[in-house]
Symmetry: C2
Subunit: 239 residues, 2 copies
DNA sequence: CCAAAAGTGTTTTAATTACACCCATGA
DNA sequence: TCATGGGTGTAATTAAAACACTTTTGG
C-alpha cells in the first residue's frame, strides 16, 4: 500500500513492468431520414478479426489524446467540422482479452446529409446501423455505445447539440424528427415549434426545402454567434 | 498515418517505445459551516516537491481505474461511503513536465461534518481551502478543479447530489446554504423549501438540530430508496 | 424580553400542456 | 382536385417568481 501511495517513489518500478496501454475509441452518431444511426466497423486484425467494433487507435507517445480522436475521426469522415467530445474512460482490468488496455472513449456527431456522407471507408468495412439495433460489438464497446447514448440524450436536453446532426440548413420538421428519434417519444409539434423558435437561436433563411413535400418547408440555420453571446450572458438552452 | 491506423499492426512497435503512463488524480470537495471547500496536498516528492497538488497515484497494471480512485480516496478519507465519479481524462502531451502521463481525474464529495472529518492525513500535508481561493496547483490541476466545479454545478442542478456533501441528518437551512455556496448566488428560502419538499425525497426525522439556533431546525434525511424508485419511474430531480 | 435563526402563504407572472384545423402545392 | 406534409392559435393547468411577517427559545 505504501509503495503505491506516492507517484515519485514507485515510478521506476512502474516503468519496468509491462505498461498499461492507452487507446481511444470513437462512438459516431449520424442522423438521416431513416433515423439516428451508429457507425460501426468490421475488425480486420486479431484478436476478434471479423467482428463488429467501434473504430479506435492507440495513443501515440507524442500525441494529445484529443488528437488521437481527431485522427481517427478524420480518417473516416474526411472531415473536420464535426462535434467531438470526450465521453468516459474505460479501464477495467478485464475489459480487453489480451493486454491491459485502457480506452478513452470519444463520442461524435456527424452531419450525414452533408457532402461528407461520402465516408472514406476504403480499407474499412463500415456500416451505419439503427441505434436501436446495434449488434454485438467486441469487448465493452456496446457499453460504450450505451454511455454515449445517455450522454447524447442528456446533452441534447440542455445544449443545442441537435444541430450537429443536421445539415447546416435544416427544416423544423427535420429537427422535430431528430428530437423524437433521440428520445424515442412523440412530441407535440406545435409546442415544439413554439419552444424552439422562442429561443431565438434559429435564423430563418427565406429558402424552402421541397425535397419532402410539394409545399416545401422553411429552411433555418443555427445562429452559433447568438448562442455564444447568450451563453456568456448566462442563458441556458433547454428543450 | 497508415501505420497508426490499426491497433493490431502497430502494437509491437508501440510497446517497444517508452510507454504512456497512466495516473488518477482526485478532486475532493467538502462542505461545512464556512462553505464549499477543496482538499489539497503538499507534494513531498520530485518534481515539484513542496507545491500544492491534488492527490493521485499511478494506475497499477492489475487494478481497475475506478479502484485506483477508491484506493487514493480511502487512504485519506478513511472511508468508503463517499460519492466518487469519473470526471475527465487529461492527456495533453505537455501536461506533465517530465514523462508522458495521462491522468484520469475523479471527483468526489465527502461529508465533512461526519465523524470522518478525521482525515487520515498522516504522511501528507493536506488542507481544506475555500473553493473560491484555490492556490496555484502543480501541472494542470487547477484546470481539473475548474472542470470538477462545472460538473458539480451541472450535476447538482439535475441530480440530488447535494446530500453527498451533508451529514446523513441535515437541516433545510444547511441544504439551502449549500446550494447558495455551490452556485454563488442568493436564493429565496421560501421557494427553495417549497421546491425541495415538493420532491418528496426528504424524510422529516422529528428531531431538531439546536447547534445553530435556540429554536432548533428540523432534521431530515435523504430518502435514497424513494429516489431509486422514482428514478426508475422516469422522475427527474431538478432544483 | 429580545436577538437570532426557523419557518410559513399569497399573488403575479410565465411556462407548459392539450388539443384540431387550414394552407400550399405538384402531380 | 386531392393527397401530402407544413404550418398555425387558444384555453386550462401548472410551475416559478416575488415578496414580509410570525414563531420559538436560550441567554
Amino acid at each position: 500500500m505504501t509503495t503505491k501511495r506516492v507517484k515519485g517513489t514507485i515510478k521506476k518500478a512502474y516503468q519496468d513492468k509491462e505498461p498499461v496501454l492507452l487507446a481511444v475509441d470513437c462512438i459516431i452518431f449520424g442522423f438521416d431520414i431513416e433515423g439516428l444511426k451508429l457507425l460501426i466497423f468490421k475488425r480486420h486484425y486479431q484478436p476478434l478479426a471479423g467482428e463488429w467494433s467501434l473504430l479506435g487507435s492507440f495513443v501515440e507517445r507524442d500525441e494529445n489524446i484529443k488528437d488521437t480522436a481527431h485522427r481517427v475521426l478524420k480518417e473516416v469522415t474526411g472531415f473536420n467540422k464535426i462535434f467531438v467530445e470526450q465521453l468516459h474512460t474505460f479501464g477495467s482490468v478485464a475489459r480487453d482479452s489480451g493486454d491491459r488496455v485502457v480506452s478513452i472513449a470519444y463520442w461524435s456527431l456527424i452531419k450525414l446529409n452533408e457532402q461528407n456522407t461520402h465516408l472514406n471507408v476504403e480499407g474499412y468495412e463500415a456500416k451505419w446501423v439503427d441505434f436501436k439495433k446495434v449488434p454485438k460489438l467486441v469487448l465493452d464497446h456496446n457499453e460504450m455505445v450505451n454511455v454515449a447514448l445517455s450522454r447524447l440524450r442528456e446533452r441534447a436536453r440542455i445544449r443545442p447539440i441537435g444541430f450537429e446532426l443536421l445539415p447546416d440548413k435544416f427544416t423544423l420538421p427535420q429537427l422535430f424528427n431528430l428530437y423524437q428519434a433521440i428520445y424515442q417519444t412523440t412530441l407535440d409539434d406545435r409546442n415544439f415549434r413554439r419552444k424552439i423558435l422562442r429561443s431565438g437561436l434559429l435564423l430563418e433563411l427565406g429558402e424552402k426545402d421541397k425535397s419532402t413535400s410539394k409545399r416545401g418547408a422553411q429552411l433555418y440555420k443555427f445562429d452559433y454567434d447568438r448562442y455564444e453571446q447568450l451563453t456568456k450572458e448566462g442563458y441556458l438552452f433547454e428543450i
